[in-house]
């Protein structure tokens, strides 16, 4: 468990309750977060997005966190956002923290850690779980692919050949080839398939068909 500001994460000493909005896309996770927070005495839990009402913290999923940060860029005093997710790859963590979310917690965390994280973020602190910090540090050594390389990578991960990738992106096969070569280097992989495996581990491409 990693905390940037220990004091702010401790249970409140008599101050008011924390107003939490839980807006999570996974129905079981949403119900679970609400139930666990309600079992703590210092939370006032609301389901769904805050809809203009004042809350101290919003607990959401990965996509929700990134969307919230981009839509609130112009708001004066937006509530802090805690992401609870099963996305545990370095790239996904960097995307969310880069967008400006205040906390990042993995879904398999304990009740205790969830409550600490919500208190911490609601109190103005930042919070990342232990494994999250580790993945983040690991990913700092990785060179990010360019936008074009990412496009090539997505198609490559679907099993397309260079010629087909070229046709899909409107570029020549030779250009695709050099993008693939650059990707193999950045992913430290000897073969195309090994590169896809490593890209999935880093979270650059989805590891599987999404369940929704």
């Amino acid at each position: 468990m990693t905390r940037f500001d220990r004091q702010r994460c401790d249970p409140p000493a008599g101050q008011g309750v924390i107003a939490v909005a839980v807006a999570h896309g996974d129905p079981y996770v949403a119900a679970g977060i609400s139930a666990l927070l309600r079992s703590g005495t210092d939370f006032n839990v609301r389901s769904g997005p805050p809809d203009g009402q004042a809350v101290d913290v919003i607990v959401t999923d990965h996509g929700g966190g990134i969307a919230a940060m981009s839509s609130w860029q112009r708001r004066v005093d937006p509530p802090p956002v805690l992401v609870v997710t099963d996305q545990e790859t370095g790239w996904q963590i960097r995307r969310a923290l880069g967008a400006g979310v205040h906390g990042y917690l993995l879904q398999d965390c304990s009740r205790h850690e969830l409550l600490s994280a919500v208190r911490c973020v609601a109190g103005g602190g930042k919070y990342v779980g232990g494994l999250v910090a580790e993945r983040l540090l690991d990913s700092l050594g990785h060179v990010a692919p360019t936008g074009r390389e990412l496009q090539v990578l997505q198609l490559m991960a679907r099993g397309l050949r260079n010629r087909e990738i070229g046709a899909a992106l409107g570029i020549g096969e030779g250009t695709v080839k050099s993008h693939v070569k650059a990707l193999l280097g950045k992913l430290d992989a000897a073969t195309r398939t090994a590169a896809i495996g490593e890209a999935q581990r880093r979270g650059l491409v989805a590891a599987e068909a999404p369940c929704r």
Binding site: D26, P27, Y28, V29, A30, A31, G32, I33, S34, A35, L36, S39, V84, D86, E88, T89, L106, Q107, D108, C109, S110, R111, L114, M156, A157, R158, G159, R161, A189, A190, T191, R192, T193, A194, A195, I196, G197, Q200, R201, A207, E208, A209, C211, R212
Partner: protein, 205 residues
């Protein structure tokens, strides 16, 4: 069971948050009662726990047995098939709304055929089951890891041309046009143990 008795349901999930969510959803149903799994008629569990519960009951008569519903994060055809073979009464992804979960529990308690949620159904439909020989399965494992034929041949102590023939057969069975497509299809369908972190059966804890 008397007509007005409530259904006794146990929850087993390796994630605190999901366990609390499932318990909360079940507790809201007037005809459900949360109990420990020793006394339950239906257990709702993550895939690994579901398989373990079913294995523990393998000696018992099917009629009086506790029914088990598996809750999975990812839809992989081979994992779903394995769970159904093991005797699950339902396979729900996180796409199933609370009402569907409650309906699946009642259906399981009545002894109905396994209920699959929409995403799980989509994963098993539209593709015939793939039967690989044990040797093909060995080769596939290495193909997915990105090994070339020569390296695979060395590891399995067979010739490169034999590996090539295996790969061609696997491609045919998976309707894949290239080596990479073989790896993509095999991973998506759950035919190999290698998978993204934190998902499904046998994943890292």
């Amino acid at each position: 069971m008397t007509p007005h008795a409530r259904l006794r349901i146990a929850v087993r999930h390796d994630e605190d948050i999901v366990a609390a969510g499932l318990a909360g959803i079940i507790a809201r149903q007037a005809d459900f009662e949360l109990v420990g799994h020793d006394d339950a008629q239906v257990a709702v569990a993550d895939v690994r726990s579901a398989l373990r519960l079913l294995a523990e009951m393998s000696g018992q008569e099917r009629a009086g047995r506790m029914r088990v519903i598996a809750i999975a994060r990812a839809a992989r055809e081979a994992e779903i098939a394995r769970a159904i073979d093991a005797g699950v009464s339902g396979y729900l992804l996180h796409d199933a709304a609370p009402d569907e979960l409650a309906a699946a529990i009642r259906h399981a308690a009545r002894g109905g055929a396994p209920h699959l949620s929409r995403g799980a159904m989509a994963a098993v439909h539209g593709s015939l089951p793939v039967h690989l020989t044990p040797r093909e399965a060995d080769v596939l494992q290495f193909v997915v890891q990105g090994e070339c034929n020569k390296a695979i041949a060395r590891r399995l102590a067979i010739s490169a041309s034999t590996v090539k023939a295996h790969v061609a057969n696997i491609s045919g069975k998976l309707h894949a046009g290239s080596r990479t497509q073989v790896a993509v299809a095999a991973t998506r369908r759950g035919l190999v143990g290698v998978q993204g972190p934190g998902h499904g059966v046998g994943a890292v804890p």
